[in-house]
Each structure stands twice: as structure tokens, then as C-alpha cells.
């Protein structure tokens, strides 16, 4: 176990280095941020002066070496747009807004998907199954942008402010964006749980458990679900990773001050430091989520050894 974690740690350092290096050079291929900071009637000399103030007129190799030396200190430079340390800008959006929304949505998507998927599988081709599949199809195919606006119209406008239409800060603000963000993964998870359960419910050990008179609840939740859980955990991990990287559409519709919108605004503005810090945080998030998923495999299925 310790060797596994150590190896993953070393591996992660290389992954992060590779990612930040690739981003460092790629963003510089996309153009010059100085042109965004000057007036459209600025001359080339004015643009050159701005570039000089940003330190972008130095050789690329110098900029890269300085960047590499600064990253371990958490110094990604100052945001070109906001004139503040880029990592602080990114972390302000990441915590609590993005983490809060992602975790609540992930819990919703998981907690509701498991019973839905099981009911659907155990009542295959019956009304409950049809209803569950129809609901899944509906939630998965409805654009989150549209669903978000509908929820706002229903809960904020028609129900006269039952829930806030925008913003963050209280649990009431969290309800609509979390439901919207959870909708598609919930449907996806429910369908996956159903498919996996249908597969394992026909296995010999399930039949044996039932023949031994094990209560149906135990058969389903202890014997069948644990074996059906591996693909579900993988998918949930991926979904959580994407949610933690920010949900641009939901953040835009609900005016949620998360990470996704920050990065999406930073890219066209060529705010290199924020893009680099953001990608660094994304890389760490995905590494942490993948590691957690790997550890969970071993917990759920003891046959999997972490070595």
C-alpha cells in the first residue's frame, strides 16, 4: 500500500510537470495578452510598452525557467486581468463555490442513482423500469442550460421567490444549481447501475444466495451491488473530476462564482497566469480523484490488490 502511494506520488509529480509545461507553451502560441489591455486605437509602440510591463518581451526560455522555479512556491504570477496573484484568484473560485456545488451534485447523482438503477433492474420491463428509463433519458438529453432556466422560472418566478434565481452563499442558493448539475450524471449513473445490476443478477452467486434464503435486500445491496459497483465508481469519479473543474453552463445560468467560468473567461483574454494556475489545480483534482477511485476499488472488491 505504501509503495503504491509512493509510486503514485512520484508519478503525479511528473504528470503535473508535464501538464503545466504543455500549458505554459501552448497558451503562448495563442497570442499576446497585451492587445487586450490597450485601447483599440493604441499604436504598436503602446502595445510593446504594455508587453514590457507584463514581462512578456523577455526570451521564452527565461520566462519558462522563472515559471518552473516559482511553481513549487505556488507562485503562478499575477493575473493579467485582475492584477492579483493568479493562484489566489483560482483558489477563491475553487473553494468553497466549486467544491460545494460539485460535492452536493455528486452526492445527489450517486444517492439517487443507486436505488433508481436497482429498482429499474429488479423490475425490468415493468412500469417502474420504464418510468426510470424515461426519466433518465429525459434528464440526460435535456440541456443543462435549458433545465436551469426552467427551474429558475418555476422556483424563483412562478413560486414567487421560493428559491433564489442567482448567487451563492446559503443552502437555498445551492439547491437549483446542484439539481441542474446533478441531472445528467444522475441519469447516466442510474442507467449504468441498471445495466451492471442486470449483468450480476444472473450470476450463480446471486442465485445461490437467494437459494440459501438470504433476504432480498442483502442479496441486492451486499452481494449484487458490490460486484456491480466498479464501473459505477469509475464513472462517478470521472464525473466528480469534471464537476470539480467547474461547470461553466451552470455557473453562467445561476451566476455561481465557480472555477469554470473563471477559466473560460481567462482563455480568450489570454490571462496566462490564471490559465496556468487553473490547469495546475485541475491536474491535482484529477490526480486526487483517480487515486481515491483506485483506493475505493480495493475497498469494494478485496480481490483488487494495490501493489
Amino acid at each position: 500500500m505504501r509503495r503504491f502511494l509512493l509510486r503514485r506520488l512520484v508519478h503525479s509529480i511528473f504528470v503535473v510537470w508535464g501538464v503545466v509545461t504543455a500549458v505554459f507553451f501552448l497558451v503562448r502560441l495563442t497570442g499576446d495578452p497585451a492587445v487586450f489591455l490597450v485601447d483599440q486605437t493604441a499604436t504598436r509602440e503602446e502595445i510593446a510598452h504594455t508587453r514590457h510591463l507584463l514581462g512578456l518581451d523577455r526570451p521564452l526560455s527565461t520566462q519558462y525557467l522563472e515559471f518552473l522555479a516559482a511553481v513549487p512556491r505556488g507562485d503562478f504570477g499575477r493575473s493579467i486581468r485582475e492584477r492579483r496573484p493568479a493562484l489566489s484568484v483560482v483558489l477563491e473560485h475553487f473553494w468553497p463555490a466549486t467544491v460545494e456545488l460539485a460535492l452536493v451534485a455528486a452526492v445527489l447523482a450517486t444517492v439517487l442513482a443507486v436505488p433508481l438503477g436497482i429498482v429499474s433492474a429488479t423490475h425490468k420491463d415493468h412500469a417502474a423500469d420504464h418510468l426510470s428509463r424515461l426519466a433518465s433519458l429525459f434528464l440526460q438529453s435535456m440541456p443543462s442550460f435549458w433545465l436551469g432556466l426552467l427551474l429558475i422560472l418555476l422556483f424563483a418566478v412562478e413560486l414567487q421567490g421560493a428559491l433564489p434565481a442567482y448567487g451563492a452563499g446559503t443552502w437555498r442558493h445551492l439547491v437549483l444549481p446542484a439539481i441542474t448539475l446533478a441531472a445528467a450524471p444522475l441519469a447516466q449513473n442510474a442507467r449504468l447501475v441498471r445495466a451492471s445490476m442486470l449483468e450480476v443478477l444472473h450470476n450463480d452467486y446471486v442465485r445461490t444466495a437467494r437459494a440459501k434464503g438470504v433476504p432480498e435486500g442483502l442479496v441486492l445491496y451486499r452481494h449484487a451491488l458490490r460486484n456491480a459497483a466498479i464501473p459505477f465508481i469509475t464513472l462517478s469519479g470521472l464525473s466528480l473530476g469534471f464537476m470539480l473543474s467547474g461547470a461553466i453552463v451552470i455557473e453562467t445560468v445561476f451566476s455561481w462564482p465557480g472555477l469554470g467560468r473563471l477559466i473560460v473567461q481567462a482563455v480568450p483574454a489570454r490571462d496566462f497566469p490564471v490559465i496556468q494556475a487553473g490547469v495546475f489545480v485541475f491536474a491535482l483534482v484529477f490526480i486526487a480523484v483517480n487515486l481515491t477511485v483506485d483506493l475505493l476499488y480495493a475497498v469494494v472488491d478485496p480481490r483488487i490488490r494495490l501493489s
Partner: protein
Amino acid sequence: MARARVRWMPVWWGLTLGLLTLGASTALAQAPTLDGVAIDPDAELVVAMPDDTNNMDPRIGMGSIRSSYIRQVYESMIDVDPQGKPVPGLAVAWKPVGDLVWEFSLRRGVTFHDGEAFTADTVLFNLDRMFRKNLDRWGIKDVTAATAFEKTLPVVTRWEKVNDTTVRIHTSEPVSNLWDAIGREPMVPKDYTIKNGVDALNDRPVGTGPWKMTAWKRGDSMRFERNEMYWGNPPLFKKMRFQVIPEAGARLAALRAGQVGLVDAVPPLDAQVLSRESGIKVVSSVQKLYCRVYLNARPKDAFDSGGKDGLFLDPRVRLALNLAINKDGIIQKIFHGYAIGNASPVSTVSYGYAPQEPYAYDPKRARTILAEAGWKDGGDGVLKKDGEPLTLQLLFPAKHYGQAFDEMTPAVVEMLKAVGVQVVLKPVDFGSLLQTVTKGTLPYNGGYVACRTSNNLDADDFLRDWSALTMVNWAPYSPDLLEAYRATRREVDPGKRLKLLADFQHRVRDWAPVVSLYQEVKVYAMSVRVLRFQPLTELHMDFRGVAIKK
């Protein structure tokens, strides 16, 4: 005893009733009203904004939405009224003193939010920052700035304090629009900046404006509290919050739910629907945002040309393309009337604007003019000259200026095709467009659709576009036009200058440096409880004198 009590009861009740009546009438008399309507002086107005500002320090830039935030806190020497006319702000008067000096007389008794006095020294300090002089002396750092005054106004030689309320600015040649170029720049406090550094102007802005910034949650909201020491007409409510709601549909839903009081940037299509709803008012105002097709009309030595002049160098071709566009159709069908046509190179709400004869929609005449310029039908519907087709590679910054702009561009392409121009539409992100025009790598037969706005009041801010080789200048003035333009800048007599400006706009209209499309009309929607809000022709909103109904 019992008799005495009975005798006194009516007196007691009478006194009580009298006191209650007196109290109620006093309360009624004290309740503030506006036009006979009771207002709530302690109310908070929530304004739904499409975006946050990146900076509060005005030196960094005032473009687009930033102005709405910055001008609540910081003020300039020259203010503006709802019609776009210059009015006294921190300066009570301004005038040329001879040809080479402009004098600003400052308002007395104005203080910044922290109590620092606004004086001539404040103005000198701001001029130092604007022109990047004496920064070491003041111990402040330089910032990346949208406008480099030392480059745009190199003729400004020095500035001096005549007394505590008078400042003079000296130039090496007459500059007729100096009042505007300098006077519209917001003033920051001197002592506060020196003591706290320029970053404090962003994080904890301190101005002379009607609102004090009390909190700024970046990307989310900015909170303000009324400046009780404000020198002018104050807002009639106590608190204000600018709430970022990027999605237009969500902004309007929040207004309908009563969770915001006013919505900025209402899409034209929604404006029509909202105006029919009860409890909501819709107001609009013409803006300076002026959208055009820029065509490559640079001579070959002025861009990365590959040895060819810009294909649209001939003014007749540009004029013909102006006649090929059905602007009224675009304004009515796509903008639902929330835009206006304008044939002048200057926005209709700028000082010195002179109305020009519209470019009438006349495809037949456009073809005739193109034929006169040598572009004949090549048999396939595309015009050709010396075997070369009249092609326009049109860069289109999608999803930058809004949905109506994105719908308009394909319509313009079809109209140009209808007169025989082969148009190749190339959607790009706005940043890539800026890179292309900055580097000068627009193809010789290239062009782009873009909008231009202004933070200034004077016509010069638009007319200077084609005087120096900048991002927006793809049709530099001919030598005679350049001389005429310089003459407008040299003339400091207002009457004579207005005439020169009118003549010059007429010449530029015929010379057609761009294909003029439309000028934006900005729409605001608000609760009927918001009283006396008047939209400006400027980029920002003004809440002075605005009240909230009780």
C-alpha cells in the same frame, strides 16, 4: 374620587388621541417623497450586471462594463448629462487660454471618501500618472494602461498649478479636444495612492463619487453605500449592489421574481416582451457603440501585404459596399428597432457630430459604382477586375458582441454577395482578431466586423481612428484628409471648430473608410419602484437623483 376620575377620562383620551394624531402627521410630514410618491431612503437597489469589472483603477482601463463600476466611485473633471452633453463635474469651468493653454477651474470643498481634499495638487498628480511622469518621485509603480497619454497626446508639454483651484495644461501646438481627453479621465486621490500604493485603487477604491465601495466579491458582486458627504445631487437610496448574472434570461427572471431592481443589457428581443409586462419599465438610450465592416484599404507598405495593396483601397469600392447593405432591414428585423443607422464616422451622441446623408440601400447603384471602379460581372455572379475576383475574407468575432450581432453578420454577407462580392466568412475568437489586426496580417482582400465605442465626449475620439496606424485603422486618411483632420484639432474656437468638424465628417462620409452598419441602443429593464432612472449615452449608469418607491 370616583367622580373626579370620570371627569378626567375624556380629557385623558382627548390628549392621547391628539398626541397620536400629531405623531402620525409628523411622521407623514417627515416621510420623504418624490413627485408626491413616498420613497424609501434606506432601500437597497440590486442591479443585475452581465459581467464584473476587472479593475477599479481607472488608469488600467475604462472600456466596456468597467466604466459602470468605476464611475460610481471615481469622478472626472467633466461630467455628462443624459443627452451626452458635457457638464461641470470636479471642474466648474474649462477654457482655452490662448492657443497653447487649457485652464480648468476646480470645484471647491470636494473631498474623497477618506476625507482627503480634492485640489489642484490632486489633478497634477493624476496628470503625472496619466503621462507617466514623476512616478519615482511619488514612489508609485506604473500600470498597464489602455491609453498611453504620452503617446496619444505627445504635444502636452507640462501642467501647472495656478492656485488651489486652478490648473493649466500647456501644449506645443493647439489641441482643440484637450478638455475632453483630459477632462473625462477619473481622478484618484493623491495622498491615499502614495500611502497605499496603486493596487489599493483597485482593491479599496476611494473616490469623490456618489457611492463608496464597501465590498467586492470578484466575479460575483460589488456593494456600495451612499457617500453622505457627496458634493452634488445624491442618490435617494442608501445602498446598492451590482450583482453579476451573466445569462440574460437569468437576469430577466431575477427581475420578474423581484430579486433584482434593475437589469443592464437587455437583449432587443426581450425588450419588446418586457415592455408589455406589468410592474416592469423598459428604458433605452443610444450608445456610442458603433459597429462596422472594416476593409483592408491600407497601401502595401502599411501591412504584411505580400506586395499587394489592400483590395479596398479605392474609395468607390467602399462606398459601393455601403450602398449594398440594407441597414434599415437589419435594424428592424434583427435589432427590433433597438439600433440606429448613422452615415457619419462619428457617433450621433458625440460632441461635434454632424448628421450626414444616409447611405441609401441601393444594390443597383452599388453595382454601377463598382463597374465604374473596374469591377465587372465575370459571368458567374462574382465581380472581377483583371481576372481577379472581388473577394472579401471577412473575419467575424463570434459570441463577442451579442446574439443580434452574430445574427447580423451572415445577413451582411448575403447582401454583399448579392452585389457580386465573393465573401468568405471566417469566425474567429475576438483575441485572434485582435492579434491579426495588431500584427498587420489581415489579408490584402481581408476585412472584419467589429464595434468601436468611446469613453470620451468629443467627435475627435472617432475621427482620429484613421490618422495613425493602429488596430482599427485599415483605411488611413489620404494626405489631404489628414491635413483637414489636423485642422480640426488645431482650431480651438468652438464655433469655427464645429463647422470644420461638420465639413470633415461630410468628406469622410463620401470617402467611406468603413462600411457603416449600426449604432447600438442599450436597453435597461427595471421594477416600477425605481424612480427617475435615466439611461445615459455613456457606457455607465448614473444613479444620482434616483429613488426607490416605498
